[in-house]
Symmetry: C2
Subunit: 237 residues, 2 copies
Amino acid sequence: MNAGKQTKGERTKSLILETAMTLFQEKGYDESTMRNIAERAGVALGNAYYYFPSKEHFIHAFYERLWNEQLLAYEGVLEAESTLKRRLLGVLVAELRIIEPHHRLCLALFKSAADPRSPVSPFSEESRPLRESCIDFYRRLVEGATETIPPELKRELPYLLWLFHMGVVLFWIYDRSFGSIRTQKLVLHSADLIGNLVTLMSVPVMSPIRQRILNLIAAVKTEFLDETLPPLNPSQS
Amino acid sequence: MNAGKQTKGERTKSLILETAMTLFQEKGYDESTMRNIAERAGVALGNAYYYFPSKEHFIHAFYERLWNEQLLAYEGVLEAESTLKRRLLGVLVAELRIIEPHHRLCLALFKSAADPRSPVSPFSEESRPLRESCIDFYRRLVEGATETIPPELKRELPYLLWLFHMGVVLFWIYDRSFGSIRTQKLVLHSADLIGNLVTLMSVPVMSPIRQRILNLIAAVKTEFLDETLPPLNPSQS
DNA sequence: GTCTATAACCGGATAGAC
DNA sequence: GTCTATCCGGTTATAGAC
């Protein structure tokens, strides 16, 4: 295990990965067969499966790249903006900018990602590190915001914003408008609305409603977070 | 075309459909191969494909059965309940009761249904009749409710409730709690909350927030409804 | 138009030899 | 680690029978 140089296996693995990514970008996910990838990478089919047990395993690698790129852009937003409203808006706009070039690919991946049993589901055990890193980021976004936020709500907000962001991505996947303008509008309007709603929850009259909302969250929240989903049993039900 | 008796073709078709449904129920969707279905129905593989051009085509038939059963139960709720809150709660509880026995099957179907390009997506052109029938039902639910609802909001509410109901089903699909208790809690809390929020929107102070919400809806709404999605091109991207 | 039988294609996945 | 051969299941094609 020399630290500087990659082992042969590592080189083969990243060769296959790069080839897959290029091919996905060129021809889309469904059109890129495992045989294509292996052939183009100059390895045997079985060898590709040796490093990537299923075609879906390429997806996690793609996630991680995207997330690194996003995190980089998000840090800039947190430094530049101070209100919750503008931080949220900035982050969502940055996200859209980054993922838009991959719209077609994401549409194809979504078929796998939507399956709760798949390891590439955003709610899977395998996605936990990425998911927690993402919620953690929203925690920092909320902590640094200047608005007055009821503390019980503030505690839940990172999780809620993460969930909301998942909803935006879901909407974006289905969005066929030119340049995803519709999703951009959604982001614009809803960042604004969320900012208003959050501060509105501070006024005393809203106390009962706030409590109801918090109760709802408490009753329902653990889903996707605390529980361990059983691993995907390749072909089941 | 004699009205009373089915033609031979109709009989064969429903024989195949029944067999498929039974098999799905017994072994799950992925485990039931087209070869299984054909064999069990006592027809040739090609004959199954003659009536059901793809495996997914069985899904629409399944949808329709479920929706008929639901509609029947829902009518009873509308007759028995008068407030928006209780009507909504009654309908959602009835829905959960009806779909719960098919949890495993729905989980498997979801992989296809989640793909926006698939004809079995709830947002597809092929699903339009079912979708509109469902939104129409929510229209009647809202029309008959006794609460005072701001008219501009009332106009949008059927669509919003349909969307919300889709969200509940999505949550349910991911819900692994025993007997889907967590989804039941979600339904209980959120029907209550929605009832409160809707009437809250009538009070004058809420006017600006209400307007913001309506603007958001207007900016974003047409998605899934007015546009024609291109048909699924079997293997694309 | 309805149906059978059979073979074949394609692509994800696996087994087992080297 | 890497290969070849094979399985499996959705899907298609063909050619012909009723």
